[in-house]
Symmetry: C2
Subunit: 318 residues, 2 copies
C-alpha cells in the first residue's frame, strides 16, 4: 500500500463497529489486545470476498463493506455464537476517500448492530479483496455443529433461500422481469442479513446447523456428510418468496432455491416434536420445514437423488 | 474457488501446524472452537501478502507459506505474545497440487516450530494472495506496546536489518556481487525468522517494541509517535551483516539498513542500565544498541533529521 496507507487507516478504518470493554488495545499497534470472558469458548472463522468472484465489479462499496462482515457473521450464526471482535484486511488497487468512506460505513453499521468491534487488520495494495477474521463467544459445549443430525430429525431452513442468486442473476441481466419485481431479490444479494439471533436461539435445540452460503443442496450435502446421515427434501415444501414467484417460472425458481448461494440463511435439523413456532418468534425470521433426516447418505428430492450440478451450486462468476 | 476446493482443503490445508489441547474443533465446520486460557489476554493480528506486492512472482510456494505466517508471528513477537492459533485464507488463480503441497509444507514447519495450530479459514479463486489472522497469549497487563518509550531509554534492534531488502534487490538483479555473497541476503528475504522468543524475553523489560516490517527508520518513527518522544540514531552503531558489507558500498548499506523492510527484527527501547547481554542470550539473537530516546519528536541520524524517503522506506514493487 503506497504512502497514504496510514492516514487512510486512521481516517476510515480505525474506529469501526461497537465499543467494547473487553478490547484493551485496538487498531494502531502490532496486534490488538482483548480479554476473553472466563468459561466461554471462542468461535473463530475467516472468509475472503474477491471482486469478480464473490461480488460483481461496480457493487457499491457500502455493500462490499457490509458483505465481508455479513459472510463472517453468518459463520458465527451457524455455530450459535455471539459476535465479539473482528480483524479486517483490505486489498485495494488504490485508496480513494469516497470508496473507503462507503466501505467503512457499510461495515460499521452492521458491526455496531451486532455489538462487534473491529480491532485491527491490514491494508495493502493489490486486486480488490477483503478478508475478515471474526471471533465470537459460545457457552462451553453448546456450539451448533454440522455433525449432529440424527435419523428421524426434521430438516428446516430460515427465510427464502435462492433469492440472492436470483438477485445476482437480475443484476447481470439474466432475469427478465419488471424492476419492482426484481428489486427485493437484488436487495437480498446486496444486503445479506446474517441470522445471528436465530443461531443463538437454536443452541441446545437444533441437532445440527450450517449456513447456506454455497447453495442449499450443496450445504445440505455437507451437513449430511458431517452427520453420517441422508436427507430427503420435499419440493412442495421449499419456500419461495413472492418476488421469486413473480420473477421466474417454477422450474427456475426451484433451481435458485436449491443451487443458489449467498443467502446466508441457516439450514438446521430439529428433533421431531420441537415447537418451531416459538423458535421462529425468538429468531425473528420465518422457518420452514423442508424435509427429513434418515439413515444412509446423500440428498434426495421427492425420492430421487439430487442432480450433481445442483449439489455443486451455480456460480455466475465461474 | 472451483469444484476441487473442498478436496484440496482436506488434502493440504486441514491439518497444519501443532496439535493443541485447547482446540476443540478445527477445520471443517462453519467456525473453529477454542478454549482460551483463564486470566490471559489475547493478542490478535492479521496480515495479507499479495504476489507482486509483498513477494516477487515465482517465489517458491514453500517460502510463500512460510512468509504469510512469519509476518504474522512477527506481530505477536512485537507484543511479547505466545503463538496459539491461526486462520488462513488463501486466494489462488487455480489450485495445483504441487504448489499447494509446498505452500502447506512451508507454513506447517514454521507453525509447528512455534506450537501454533492452523484451525480454519477459507480458500477462494482470484489473484494470488494469502492472509493469516493470528492469536497469541500474553499475561494480563504485560504486552509490549509501541507507546512506552521514555526519554533516557536506549534504542536497540535485533539481528541485522536491511539484509532482507538487499536480498530482494539481489533477486531482481539490482545488486551485483558473487552469488555466494548474495545468498545469505536472499535467504533473509525468503525465510524471515520471527523473533518470538526475544519478544517474550522482553516482556516486563522493554519499555516499547515494534517489529521492523516497513523499514527501521519508518518503524522507529511510528514507535516515537506512539510514545511521544524523539529518537537519535548513531550511524556508527548500525549493525551490518558480513554479507551486507560484502555485497554493497557503505552508502547503499546504510540505506538498506534504515529503509529496507521485510526483516521482521524487533526494534525496542530499554531503560538505561539493563544487561542486554542476558536478554541476547535468552532471546537467541544478536542485539545492538543503535541510539537513544530523548524528549521531542522525530528521528535524527548523527544529529540531523532523517530524509523523508528513508522514513517512507523503499519498496521495489511500488
Amino acid at each position: 500500500m503506497p504512502l497514504g496507507e496510514f492516514e487512510l487507516i486512521e481516517r476510515y478504518l480505525s474506529r469501526l463497529g461497537a465499543r467494547r470493554d473487553d478490547v484493551l488495545l485496538g487498531v494502531g499497534d502490532d496486534a490488538a489486545l482483548v480479554r476473553p470472558p472466563p468459561g466461554l469458548e471462542l468461535a473463530l472463522a475467516a472468509d475472503t470476498i474477491v471482486e469478480g468472484v464473490h461480488f460483481p465489479p461496480g457493487l457499491p462499496s457500502e455493500a462490499i463493506g457490509h458483505r465481508v462482515l455479513a459472510v463472517n457473521l453468518s459463520d458465527l450464526a451457524a455455530m450459535g455464537a455471539e459476535p465479539a471482535w473482528a480483524l479486517l484486511t483490505l486489498t485495494l488497487q488504490r485508496a480513494e476517500g469516497d470508496w473507503l468512506r462507503g466501505f467503512a460505513g457499510g461495515l460499521h453499521e452492521l458491526a455496531r448492530h451486532h455489538g462487534l468491534a473491529v480491532i485491527g487488520g491490514d491494508t495493502t495494495s493489490g486486486p480488490l479483496a477483503a478478508t475478515i477474521a471474526i471471533a465470537g463467544f459460545v457457552p462451553a459445549g453448546q456450539a451448533l455443529r454440522r455433525g449432529g443430525a440424527q435419523p428421524g430429525d426434521e430438516l428446516w431452513v430460515s427465510g427464502t433461500p435462492g433469492d440472492a442468486a436470483a438477485g445476482l442473476a437480475a443484476m447481470s441481466g439474466k432475469l427478465d422481469a419488471p424492476a419492482d419485481v426484481l428489486e427485493p431479490l437484488v436487495r437480498r444479494f446486496t444486503w445479506p442479513e446474517p441470522r445471528i439471533t436465530l443461531g443463538q436461539v437454536l443452541r441446545g435445540v437444533a441437532s445440527a446447523c450450517i449456513d447456506v452460503s454455497d447453495g442449499l443442496a450443496g450445504d445440505l450435502t455437507k451437513l449430511c456428510e458431517a452427520s453420517g446421515v441422508a436427507a430427503a427434501l420435499d419440493s412442495s415444501l421449499l419456500p419461495r418468496s413472492a418476488a421469486m414467484r413473480g420473477a421466474t417460472d417454477p422450474v427456475s425458481a426451484q433451481r435458485f432455491v436449491l443451487a443458489g448461494g449467498d443467502d446466508y440463511e441457516l439450514l438446521f435439523t430439529l428433533p421431531a416434536g420441537i415447537d418451531a413456532g416459538e423458535l421462529q418468534r425468538a429468531g425473528g425470521v420465518a422457518l420452514t420445514r423442508i424435509g427429513s433426516i434418515s439413515p444412509g447418505f446423500g440428498v434426495s428430492l421427492d425420492g430421487a437423488p439430487l442432480d450433481r450440478d445442483l449439489v455443486l451450486g451455480f456460480d455466475h462468476f465461474r
